[in-house]
């Protein structure tokens, strides 16, 4: 019964989304406040309907309702409860439903944030967001119905792909989707600005929180995905330049550029047209990512061919929105007035350079990802574009960008002084050089690029600290004064300092991997192998039974300087329902470094073992968390605070634009 309710709610959401688009949009053109006021209500109603549908699917999964195809194919009665819930989006249909849920959530949030988004921008934004919602609701209802029943119902499900039976599935997709889909609302804002033919600092201020939220979540989502791959795959890698990863990296790069160009727009009224273009581009890349991943076109042509309906439908959505977005841009952008001027050497100039490098890096990833597909389609030749290509092309662009970050931060708005900026970063530069030299001395050499990476990472972190210090302390000032001034700095200033330092932390973690050690051995119980500073002793192997799997586990003792410091357990699991084996790497965190053990085949009582010593590896993901923290600090800036869902009565009275009557 609840399954049918869910299905019905989804259809109802589609109808309501049509209302959300048509009536308010017409109202905005006719300046009819009554029609316009339907928009927010409809957006909230759409969200509630999708939430009901989503809840119905969750219930079907949790109660193991095997009369639903989606549950049969992706669940098992013995599966732990957590994975019954996360399994909802561990498949095509459910994940699309989550996509729509987040889409509707953003629509509803804009609908209720009356304080931060002025009319009629809000109405047009909700209308555009509604169009996106319609497209994806139609897609799910037409080609990917999660509520389809099967009769007769089987007694048991086929279980979820064991590799997805992990806490990572609870965290990674929702984070990533909030990021991906968050850019839909930024796209909607951009389209609304183009429809209105007006864009100014008010627009930038209204949109920046949304782009920040999307960026924060996308950053965390990508980092979490990377860590998940790292611990689940069993060979210690954390980024593979896989097309699926590239699909999430591209909107991140474009979104990062967007975040910076919006700053220029908000502060200096410049780069307006470019900012709109970037907003359209970012969401286009999100859609492209969804298409590449969902249609299966990247995995193999066969996946695409087995379900041409789905791939074709998403392709249509893709073409409609990207084409529509750019057509609207081409048509309306000339109407927009260009804003403030600035000297080439200025904060604005530095941010333009930032955008140029980020956009080039993004284009490099895009071309590297789709070039093999295009080449094969055009000439039939098959080539591979893998990590070596991206390391040769993407890395130089990224390094150039990061090297310039501290200088850009030190430049003044409008007209900057290059020499002055250089003087302001000289302390950070000194720290970087000393750090690099110490690294060379301690490690007795090491790859040049890695030493450079250590220096660069230190440079970024030091420059982040320097930014706060320089703005709150001058020579001879008592510390208490400086502290007071530091805490009085705008949160957005703190945010940018912290986020940039976070990038430095990531760079440090990546650079440190040049010193990681890999040992491949076969061990019998009692035998030992060396991994970095540790001796790893195999204590023994033993079988174990889990809720829906059996595993062969092995325990290792880590010995450093003759004393046992820790133990670590790795295992190989067998999931009977899918006849699938997974490796569960044993990871022992010591400070910021990790010992990583993964099991291979066992032969004649000896166990094949891969042991890694990964110094400071945690910095990679902690750095991403620091970046997100910087974003959150910036988001909490008083001037950019997200609209509060229900404004107090007093606030409502003081905001006449929020009431329909005043909008006439």
């Amino acid at each position: 019964m609840s399954v049918e309710v869910g299905h019905y709610a989804l259809a109802l959401a589609l109808a309501l989304a049509v209302i959300q688009v048509v009536l308010p949009f017409w109202g905005a053109r006719a300046r009819d406040a009554a029609l316009m006021s339907i928009g927010p209500a409809a957006a909230v109603a759409v969200f509630v309907c999708v939430l009901i549908a989503f809840a119905a699917l969750v219930k079907a999964h949790v109660t193991s309702d095997f009369s639903v195809v989606n549950v049969v194919e992706n669940s098992h009665s013995l599966k732990p409860l957590l994975y019954k819930v996360t399994g909802v989006w561990g498949n095509h249909e459910g994940s699309m439903l989550l996509w729509i849920l987040v889409l509707a959530l953003f629509g509803a949030l804009v609908a209720v944030s009356r304080r931060s988004v002025p009319e009629p921008l809000r109405t047009d934004t909700l209308a555009v967001q509604g169009v996106v919602t319609i497209a994806f609701l139609a897609f799910v209802l037409a080609t990917s119905d999660p509520f389809a029943r099967v009769f007769p119902a089987p007694a048991e499900g086929q279980d979820l792909n064991p590799i997805l039976q992990d806490i990572g599935l609870a965290i990674h997709p929702p984070l990533l989707y909030v990021g991906y889909v968050g850019y839909s609302i930024v796209f909607a804002f951009a389209a609304a600005a183009l429809i209105e033919g007006r864009i100014d600092a008010v627009w930038a201020r209204a949109v920046r929180p949304w782009s920040l939220v999307a960026w924060i979540f996308l950053t965390l989502g990508i980092a979490m995905g990377s860590y998940w791959a790292y611990y689940e795959l069993g060979w210690g890698g954390f980024w593979f330049w896989d097309p699926v990863e590239n699909a999430s990296l591209m909107p991140w790069l474009a979104g990062t550029a967007l975040m910076h160009s919006m700053l220029v727009m908000e502060k200096r009224d410049a780069l307006k047209v470019w900012t709109l273009l970037l907003a359209i581009l970012t969401f286009s890349l999100s859609l492209l990512g969804t298409f590449l991943v969902r249609s299966g076109v990247l995995t193999s042509v066969h996946t695409f061919a087995t379900d041409p309906g789905r791939g074709f439908f998403i392709l249509c959505i893709l073409v409609a929105f990207i084409g529509g977005g750019f057509a609207l841009f081409a048509w309306r952008a000339p109407v927009l007035k260009q804003g403030g001027l600035f000297a080439p050497v200025s904060r604005e100039g530095a941010l333009v350079l930032n955008n140029l490098l980020l956009a080039s890096a993004c284009a490099t990833v895009l071309i590297g990802t789709i070039y093999p597909l295009a080449l094969e389609a055009l000439t039939g030749d098959k080539i591979s574009v893998g990590a070596p290509f991206f390391e040769l092309t993407f890395l130089p662009l990224a390094l150039a960008l990061l090297l310039l970050v501290p200088f850009g931060q030190a430049l003044a708005w409008k007209r900057g002084n290059l020499l002055g900026a250089a003087q302001r970063v000289v302390a950070a530069l000194a720290i970087a050089v000393v750090g690099g030299a110490v690294t060379v001395a301690v490690t007795r050499g090491g790859p040049v690029l890695a030493v450079f990476g250590v220096g660069l990472g230190l440079f970024l972190v030091a420059a982040g600290v320097n930014e706060v210090v320089a703005r709150s302390w001058s020579r001879g000032m008592p510390l208490s004064n400086a502290l007071r001034r530091a805490f009085g700095l705008p949160r957005s200033a703190w945010g940018s300092a912290v986020a940039h330092a976070g990038v430095g932390v990531v760079v440090l973690g990546l650079a440190a991997q040049a010193w990681s050690v890999e040992t491949l051995v076969t061990l019998k119980p009692g035998e030992a192998a060396q991994a970095g500073p540790f001796t790893v002793v195999l204590e023994g192997a033993f079988p174990r039974t889990g809720p829906n799997f059996n595993e062969e586990a092995a325990r290792f003792r880590l010995i450093e300087g003759g004393a046992a410091v820790a133990s670590v357990e790795a295992s190989k699991r067998f999931y009977a329902a899918r006849a699938t084996t997974t490796t569960e790497a044993g990871i022992r965190t010591l400070g910021l470094s990790q010992v990583y053990v993964s099991l291979g085949d066992s032969r004649d009582g000896a166990l094949g073992v891969r042991i890694y010593w990964k110094p400071f590896v945690l910095l990679i993901w902690l750095g991403a968390v620091v970046m997100a923290l910087g974003g959150a600090l910036s988001l909490s800036d008083r001037r950019l605070r997200l609209g509060v869902p229900v404004p107090s009565r007093r606030a409502q009275a003081s905001l006449p634009t929020a009431t329909p009557a005043a909008a006439e």
Binding site: D242, T303, L356, I367, I383
Partner: protein
């Protein structure tokens, strides 16, 4: 689909049917000669596992990747140079097996694209600045000049 890689990288995506227990390079494949082994690792990191999604044979657990790893080591032991080994594998499987696409007519655009995009962007910025520069203020008309002179003289 044999590679567990895609399963995880594709995360919440399509359900992957089966995966294999073994992990990537196995201890029994490792050559005793350390230098030779290092060269083998280097070569395998650049060769694609043909049945996988953008994964090198060094990282892949597919049986085909294992065969290729053994092949690489066999050739090295028989005295081939790194280049000869790569060429041999390419002659059997085509350019598709190279994770770093070779520079050819086919791939010229691919390799040139980062630089082209960067240059095109830089040119666009310069042109954009040129066209957006505000026109210089028009010269004063004789009447305005006279008025200005009058004001200046008055002050003096």
């Amino acid at each position: 689909m044999r590679c567990r890689r895609w399963g995880i990288a594709g995360v919440m995506l399509l359900a992957v049917t089966a995966s294999l227990p073994a992990v990537a390079l196995q201890p029994d494949e490792v050559l005793a000669d350390r230098q030779l082994e290092a060269r083998a690792r280097d070569i395998s990191a650049g060769l694609r596992c043909l049945v996988c999604q953008n994964q090198s044979i060094d990282d892949s657990d597919a049986p085909l990747a294992r065969d290729l790893r053994l092949l690489v080591r066999e050739r090295l032991q028989s005295g081939d140079s790194d280049r000869a080994v790569r060429d041999f594998v390419v002659s059997r499987y085509g350019d598709f097996v190279l994770l770093k696409p070779p520079f050819k007519l086919d791939t010229a655009i691919l390799w040139a694209s980062p630089l082209l995009v960067l240059l095109a962007g830089a040119v666009a910025i310069v042109i954009g600045r040129r066209t957006r520069r505000p026109p210089p203020p028009p010269d004063l008309s004789p009447a305005e000049q006279a008025k200005l002179d009058a004001i200046l003289n008055e002050e003096r």
